[in-house]
Amino acid sequence: MNMTRRLTIAGFAAIMAASVAMPAFAADLIAIITPSHDNPFFKAEAVGAEAKAKELGYDTLVIVHDDDASKQSQLIDTAIGRGAKAIILDNAGADASVAAVQKAKDAGIPAFLIDREINAAGVAVAQIVSNNYQGAQLGGQEFVKLMGEKGNFVELTGKESDTNAGIRSKGYHDVMDDYPDMKMVAQQSANWSQTEAYSKMETILQANPNIKGVIAGNDTMAMGAIAALQAAGKKDVIVVGFDGSNDVRDSIKSGGIKATVLQPAYAQSQMAVEQADAFIKSKKKPAEEKQLMDCVLITADNAGKLETFALSK
């Protein structure tokens, strides 16, 4: 007992000493703030950013806001308080995040946004986002082709506060609505969530047992939908997702989900860190604040080349 206690105190003292001594030789800090890593997409972003930051000699602070704007605001405060030199941010809402990014800017900390846009220009230094519309058109075209240009289908949309939910839905519909024989029998938000997609799909199936396809705004919802469909014995329903996760890749390979759209998440977050590094070192801004990254259609043909949100040549 006494021994343990002494060791604990010694350990504590050592930690204290270390943390006091740290600032003397600490590297510059980059804060990496994303939604929950439960979704492998956000995890890949954080991992990609962290790897690039470490490679360039930075310390990192990797934290998650869980799509909660007030939590995001606190995390920005944390980053400011810790003296971060830059913030890499996948934000918690196009409107709600403007003030948080402005707060960082006012404190002299540049923000480099990835994946999601905010509805303001000149607040962040960079907004590197996937071309969700181009990607959704690819997904929509493949879905229409798989459906034979006709039949009943369901759309699962993402979180409403996220611009990407609207743009993907719009991209899908820009393609699908040109086909009068494609009939959407239900459209519901499952808030990007796999469990929510599962339960929504179960309910939708009760009212609409004869559906031919499901198009989902992201891969986690596609995974939830296909699980519900398989549980209901509907193995022939065409499911298409968006993101390019390893889970969906494996499902495509085993004949479950038919297609998804890869967002280059890993490359995107690495690019953001490179731009942050250039800004920290030489105040150099990217040529444009808003930068679009094209997406790639993933089907059984190229699923084998997909690994952690990157496609090998």
């Binding site: 196009a94 846009e117 509805n119 220009a121 590197i128 986002v129 071309n131 969700n132 519309y133 181009q134 058109q137 075209q141 240009e149 611009t163 609207g166 743009i167 719009k170 991209g171 820009d174 393609v175 040109d178 086909y179 009068p180 280059p264 990217p286 040529a287 444009e288 604040e289 808003k290 930068q291 679009l292 990254m293 094209d294």
Partner: protein, 231 residues
């Protein structure tokens, strides 16, 4: 944007013969609301709606406004003959892009090229809503380019070739996307709907339009801005 000015909450004063403390309390509430309102600016709802309508984003109108005056003249000037553009792309997509095309300065979008096609239809798909004709431009009876003839047109090639429109000038991707779609709608309404749809194989085609850097073995996916079929 208007500042978020809410409607003032109405303060109800009920009863007359109130004991002093209550009157004081009410007086305080009224005074407090007046103070709170002092910082507000009243905007008439009708004015607000008028202003919103005037500044509302209308992509179809924007495209219609620039189509004849800017878009078609730009494409006409930028375009090369299709076989020349393809030969340049085969040598160097970037050099061909600098001469015949455009792309956003940053990001990873491919080049979009502008070309004039003059050839003969060798195959036509008009049962799909995303109808197209495959066109031979060098008289070898083989298709060299796929021209979309609507009503469903894929992609945003027309928008993407223009050097005078820029994603950064738009509020977000949604408006940028709607703007891109409006080019396709405009060309469909003003040009493609008037084209013949039957017995197209063997007919002569001329078109001015745009296509993104072809990928793999796919035919170049050409979106016309002007087009004739006949002869």
């Amino acid at each position: 944007m208007q500042g978020g000015v809410g409607r003032p909450a109405s303060v109800l004063i009920v009863g007359v013969s109130l004991p002093m403390p209550k009157i004081k309390a009410i007086a305080f509430v009224v005074l407090a609301s007046m103070l709170a309102l002092a910082g507000c600016k009243f905007v008439k709802t009708a004015d607000e709606q008028k202003q919103a309508a005037a500044t509302a984003f209308d992509p179809d109108k924007r495209v219609a406004e620039i189509w004849d005056s800017k878009v078609v003249p730009y494409l006409d000037k930028k375009a090369g003959n299709f076989p020349d553009v393809m030969a340049e792309i085969a040598k160097s997509p970037d050099a061909a892009g600098a001469r015949y095309g455009h792309k956003e300065k940053v990001g990873n979008a491919p080049w979009a090229y502008v070309a004039k096609v003059d050839g003969t239809v060798v195959a036509a798909e008009t049962t799909s809503r995303a109808a197209y004709v495959d066109v031979d431009v060098n008289a070898d009876k083989k298709a060299d380019v796929r021209i979309f003839i609507g009503p469903a047109i894929r992609g945003t090639a027309l928008r993407d070739t223009l050097d005078f429109v820029d994603f950064n000038a738009f509020k977000n991707q949604i408006e940028w996307a709607q703007f891109g779609k409006s080019f396709n709608l405009h060309v469909n309404r003003t040009v493609l709907e008037k084209l013949p749809r039957d017995n197209l194989v063997g007919k002569k085609v001329t078109a001015l339009g745009a296509f993104p850097l072809p990928s793999g073995t796919d035919l170049p996916q050409f979106v016309p801005a002007t087009m004739t079929i006949g002869g």
